[in-house]
Amino acid sequence: MMPAVFPTLKTGAVAQYPATKTNEFASFTVRFLDGSDQRYRQFPAPLRSWTIKLDMLDETELNTLEQFFVAQGGRFGIFSFVDPWTQTTFTNCSLDQDTLQCAVQGELRGTAQLVVVENRV
């Protein structure tokens, strides 16, 4: 029963404000004695990542996130994720964390943070 899609909140949203999206390139730089350098592109294309900070969750929503994290086995699993900015579906993503910390400050006051990364295919 492993969910293959990143879960949404009760509202249908994936993320809340503030949300962070990152595009990561990888460049290898060789520096020479005269100060010049030569640069190489290591990634054929940038890898995207999204930081999803969630607040004011109820216990059902927190439980859904927790079940998803456990089913994924932390960073191990693969799932599809809809970019909340562009609504583009990325079918090969993973979590970027082996620890999920949920805090419940009170009723309907749960918090959690997940980082999603796009895998190179």
Binding site: F28, F69, F76, V104, R109
Partner: protein, 262 residues
């Protein structure tokens, strides 16, 4: 086996509660961004940080005695997750975790009260009442709340029950044509090491059931679905060897405990 005590209210924890799920993945990252991953299932760990405030002298004494009996991190105990459903397979009633008469007909995939299809239609075609129940390896004498969403077109009277080897209790409800959440709360006078909870469907009747949930507290919280593992941890340990108690006034104490389990 020792078990983590409840407060006088019947609750296991107070807000705020922090819960951490820890996994371990070994990753080889290649220069072009590809990754090769291996999971380490043996490294799975769950950790809770329970912060207690305004405990009475009696409550803090109970916690202190329990901590002393465990000798800090040394001895294990049973811990009931205050943020989880103690039942396994809450939406898959045909799983072996559930005990039902073979004559009871279970049809999954029925529309549920939150817009999904996680409910199950339970049909009792016989001339006798039949039950669907699950045994949970949790102390029989604690305060529990067993809850479920039910629906029936015929105003069927169904009952929720809880029972141990030496005590039992039940309550009847008239199911409505729309989804209604019903619950059975309280404690049994029992020293048993396990408790069974379930639902009884009268002879010849049909009931839709969703969101079966057992919690170690007096009232039902929002429904949490569960899969192969419920929220009962039989080999939990404290993550600390020191237990600090701060007394903030007469009969007012506070402390923080960290519990972990693999």
């Amino acid at each position: 086996m020792a078990y983590f005590p409840q407060l006088s209210s019947g609750a296991t924890g107070q807000y705020p509660i922090q819960k951490r799920r820890i996994e371990r993945t070994i990753i080889n990252q290649l220069p072009d961004g590809h990754t090769v991953k291996f999971t380490d299932a043996g490294a799975q760990q769950t950790e809770w940080q329970l912060t207690f405030q305004d405990l009475t002298d009696s409550e803090i004494a109970t916690l202190q005695q329990f901590f002393a009996a465990c000798e800090g991190q040394l001895n294990g105990f049973t811990f009931l997750d205050p943020l989880d459903n103690l039942l396994a397979w809450s939406e898959a009633l045909s799983q072996p975790a559930w005990e039902a008469s073979t004559l009871l007909q279970l049809t999954p995939g029925i529309d549920d009260p939150i817009g999904g299809t996680g409910a199950t239609r339970v049909v009792n075609p016989t001339g006798a009442d039949l039950s669907l129940q699950q045994n949970v390896s949790a102390p029989g004498g604690l305060v529990y709340c067993f809850s479920a969403y039910v629906r029936s077109q015929n105003g069927v009277t169904i009952s929720l029950f809880r029972q141990t080897a030496d005590a039992s209790g039940s309550q009847s409800y008239a199911a409505q044509a729309t989804w209604t959440r019903i619950s059975l709360s309280g404690s049994l006078s029992s020293a048993a090491g396990s408790i069974a909870v379930g639902i009884t469907v009268p002879a010849g009747q049909t009931v839709d059931v969703y969101g079966l949930q057992l919690e170690p507290q007096p009232a039902a919280s929002p429904y949490k679905s569960s899969y192969s593992a419920g929220g009962v941890y039989s080999n939990a340990h404290f993550s600390q060897d020191a237990f600090a108690v701060t007394t903030t006034g007469p009969n007012r104490n506070q402390c923080t405990l960290t519990i972990s389990t693999r």
